[in-house]
């Protein structure tokens, strides 16, 4: 029997279930996708979105259920099979080899070649032609490692188009993009859909679902919890389907006390980056008690060096860092901590926690040489446990016990361990970097609430984040870091995301143009 490829869904799943050992990642998931349709797959982290996509792309084999392409049941043993049938995937973590060129990355796995010898001239021409046809400009000879994130994503999309993908699956495509790059991406996707490409976008951001998709599936705990036409639904209904209860994400921000003497101040601080180049160039900032200063910026514009010079992990090459009346520029990390600098690092698994350690050990980190964790410099295990039990209750840390390994905790609970550790030490100044990266909506809400509580108690907070929504949700004042310089500073209520986004991308050059546009 032959089917008309234009009738019926391009892609369909029926009762897909995928288990890893005893963990059920997907349970009885059935979705369908029509030609030229944009469908959003919405769900919290850990809801099973990525697993479903990896099943669709042949990376995982489903435990049961079937996949149909243009009405025919198919079996994917590897991504090769999925690619052959016209499925293309843009992964959340780009599948690009940084040391290879754009052209090499695009043709990898499907190189035009004669007896294994690649015909680069032809490949390059094809790439240039595709990029022109779809308006996805990128230099075919540039190495991928030299491209900004937005362009790397273009290369990913081109990779799929090069293979004549009829279905494009994008996994959290906006997580790393600036607002302008998001707009460009969405325009591209709409154009592709109009041309007949079907698109699945996986996301946990409600706004994106609403601005881009025709239809939306919501996944919760591995199961479909709803299917809606985008126009016939509301953000709060989707949030409820996603989380299973009502969520409030816009927090009431208490007014800051009027301009008191700052607790934290850095003046004209410079620092070297990983390649020995100056990555922070004369940055000056000040944060007062009970104030949250949000640092916006595209990743890699000096955020890391900013955090490291504040905490003492790296030396400033110029300038001073002050806490209260003390010049702490030359102080060690330990001395700064003791003086009242708290730090929530951007990568909880790499630098926030020792994931092989237990929860209680992680809670004692950095203070293990003193009471209550030690007596006469010998660890007091019983007291450490008692203290940990108390903190776990106060901060609602869900683990099998204080002796559970940190690596067994969910991302949200890992972050709670770090917050509990830092907040319980009564800091005067708190540096928080990327506090909600990779967390689900429920955990994000929790983190926001805790940070605001701390602020209300009079702590000065410096928030570094790549998420503009987050900056605007929490900050009293906002500064933009670009090329290691503070190029913009404003009260949060006197600016808007478009203006800040403009400064993030163009730096000081945004200037008056951004103002007039905004």
């Amino acid at each position: 029997m032959t089917t008309d490829p234009r009738a019926g869904p391009v892609l369909e799943t029926r009762g897909i279930t995928k288990t890893f050992g005893s963990v059920v990642a997907n349970s009885d998931v059935s979705i369908r996708l029509e030609r030229g349709e944009i469908v959003a797959l919405l769900g919290e982290n850990g809801a099973g979105k990525s697993t479903l996509m990896n099943v669709l792309f042949g990376l995982y084999r489903p435990s049961s259920g079937e996949i149909l392409v243009r009405g025919e049941p198919v079996r994917f043993d590897s991504p090769r099979d999925a690619i052959k049938l016209g499925l293309g995937m843009v992964h959340q973590h780009f599948m690009l080899v940084p040391t290879l060129t754009v052209t090499q990355n695009i043709i990898l796995g499907d190189e035009p070649s004669v007896l294994g010898h690649i015909r680069y001239r032809r490949a390059r021409a094809r790439v240039a032609e595709l990029s022109a046809r779809y308006g996805l400009e990128v230099d075919p000879d540039e190495k991928v490692e030299n491209l900004p994130v937005g362009l790397q994503q273009r290369v990913e999309i081109l990779k799929a188009l090069y293979r004549d993908a009829a279905v494009l699956i994008l996994d959290e495509p906006t997580a790393v993009l600036t607002p302008r790059e998001v707009d460009e991406l969405f325009a591209t996707l709409r154009r592709l859909a109009e041309g007949g490409t079907s698109i699945i976008i996986i996301t946990h951001k409600l706004e994106e679902v609403r601005s881009l998709s025709h239809r939306v599936y919501v996944l919760r705990k591995g199961k479909l919890s709803g299917e809606r036409a985008t126009l016939g639904t509301t953000a709060s209904e989707l949030a409820r389907l996603m989380v299973g209860r009502d969520v409030v994400l816009s927090v009431d921000r208490p007014e800051p006390a009027p301009a008191p003497e700052p607790i934290f101040r850095m003046e004209a601080v410079s620092a070297l980056g990983p390649r020995g180049l100056e990555a922070l160039r004369g940055a000056s900032l000040a944060v007062g008690p009970g104030e949250i200063l949000g640092i916006a910026g595209v990743e890699g514009n000096g955020q890391r060096e900013l955090c490291e010079t504040i905490t003492g992990l790296a030396k400033a090459t110029a300038g001073t860092v002050r806490l209260g009346s003390d010049d702490v520029t030359g102080w060690s990390v330990a001395r700064r901590m003791d003086a009242g600098i708290g730090y929530v690092p951007p990568d909880r698994r790499a630098s926030g926690l020792v994931v092989q350690f237990s929860v209680e050990e992680n809670l004692a980190l950095g203070r293990s040489d003193r009471a209550p964790y030690s007596r006469a410099r010998v660890l007091d295990r019983a007291a450490t446990r008692a203290s940990a039990t108390g903190l776990m209750e106060r901060y609602d840390i869900r683990a099998s016990g204080p002796d559970a390994r940190a690596s067994t905790l969910s991302g949200g609970n890992q972050q709670k361990v770090i917050l509990a550790r830092e907040f319980s030490r009564n800091p005067k100044f708190l540096l928080v970097s990327q506090p909600t990266r990779g967390l689900d909506v429920g955990a994000i809400e929790y983190v926001y609430r805790r940070i605001l509580e701390l602020k209300e108690s009079g702590v000065a907070v410096l928030l570094v984040s790549m998420e503009l929504d987050e900056i605007f949700a929490l900050s009293d004042r906002i500064a933009v870091l670009h090329g290691g310089r503070v190029v913009f500073e404003s009260r949060a209520d006197a600016t808007n995301p478009a203006e800040v986004g403009e400064y993030m991308i163009r730096g000081a050059a945004a200037g008056p143009a951004a103002r007039s546009e905004a």
């Binding site: 890893f20 990642a25 850990g46 099973g48 990525s50 697993t51 792309f57 990376l59 995982y60 590897s78 991504p79 090769r80 690619i83 052959k84 995937m89 992964h91 599948m95 690009l96 080899v97 940084p98 040391t99 290879l100 090499q104 990355n105 990898l108 796995g109 499907d110 190189e111 070649s113 294994g116 010898h117 690649i118 680069y120 990779k159």
Partner: protein
């Protein structure tokens, strides 16, 4: 002083440099190919030793050094296949698997010496060696000073030189080279584009085995006429150093290998001529000191493949 230098730096020194570098070049190319594919390989020493043994055995048994060469290469490939199976399919830590391969090679060749020749130490001499097939390439071998070194050589030395050109081209221009590089830098990118990382890594390790086998054959049936236990004498590890000093790139690694061949040749020559009055032990130490100096000096500038030594599997990579 000038006389001393003139006595040292002769066309013979250049020729000895290339000859002594040949096994290092081959083993170092094996390291390049394996590591660029993502497999840390410290087993060159052992693979080379197994290759040397079988080259000598086959050449002695059949009387043909050419069959010996094939036997050495095949033994290297098979022995490497075993390493690939442990490191890739059984997910052993690559360094641990490599260390086992090295130790096993010493034990295995000693055992096989007893089986094949009924004694330890040195095997029976082969009737003809590949050294008998030394061939000069017309015109090129007449280039002054370096002509004889590069163009009047024995078969495996030619193969070593050829392997550099071949791998440089493979990495730059071919599908295999592109796959190997992707497999070592970011294996998931290769896998998601429908090409198997496991197959790519197996291919790289086995091709490396062939080259180590050839390096071994050079030692037993080209540079000498028999197999001696432990005759690799650390060349597999020097190759490892050459790979790092040369920045994981064929041409750089070739130059680093030549450098090691050069200090070795210089050491032999200076010692033989007695032109520099120093205890002979110091001369023997010289190549190793040079190795340390070269690696320590260059290592900061070179960057290993991002995924080298990291185990690869598709599922269980997390959600």
């Amino acid at each position: 002083m000038m006389e001393t230098l003139a006595a040292l730096f002769t066309p013979q020194l250049v020729e000895a440099t290339v000859r002594l570098a040949a096994p290092v070049i081959l083993a170092a190319m094996a390291a390049v190919v394996c590591e660029r594919s993502g497999v840390t390989n410290i087993a060159m020493e052992g693979i080379m030793l197994v290759g040397a043994f079988f080259a000598a055995l086959v050449a002695w048994y059949t009387g043909s050094p050419w069959l010996g060469l094939v036997g050495g290469a095949a033994a290297g490939a098979l022995y490497s296949l075993f390493f690939a199976w442990a490191a890739i399919s059984l997910h052993f830590n690559h360094v641990v698997a490599g260390a086992i391969m090295n130790i096993l090679a010493f034990g295995l060749t000693r055992y096989l010496m007893m089986v094949a020749y009924g004694r330890q130490g040195t095997s029976n001499a082969v009737a003809r060696t590949l050294h008998d097939y030394k061939t000069a390439i017309p015109v090129l071998s007449d280039i002054p000073f370096i002509g004889k070194a590069f163009f009047d050589q024995t078969p495996i030395v030619y193969l070593a030189l050829l392997s550099v050109v071949a791998w440089a081209w493979i990495f730059k221009r071919t599908r295999l080279g592109l796959s190997i590089e992707a497999s070592g830098e970011y294996p998931m990118a290769l896998e998601t584009m429908g090409r198997s990382v496991v197959k790519t890594r197996y291919t790289a390790v086995v091709l490396g085995g062939v080259m180590c086998g050839l390096a071994g054959a050079f030692l037993s049936i080209e540079n000498s006429n028999s197999f001696t236990e432990g005759m690799t004498d650390g060349r597999g590890f020097i190759a490892l150093a050459a790979n790092i000093a040369g920045g994981w790139r064929p041409v750089g690694v070739f130059l680093a290998s030549l450098f090691f061949g050069f200090v070795d040749a210089l050491q032999l020559r200076a010692q033989g001529l007695g032109v520099i009055d120093l205890p002979s032990e110091l001369f023997l130490v010289f190549p190793y000191v040079a190795t340390i100096a070269a690696v320590a000096g260059l290592v900061k500038r070179s960057r290993p493949p991002a995924a080298v030594g990291k185990d690869f599997s598709v599922e269980g990579g997390g959600d």
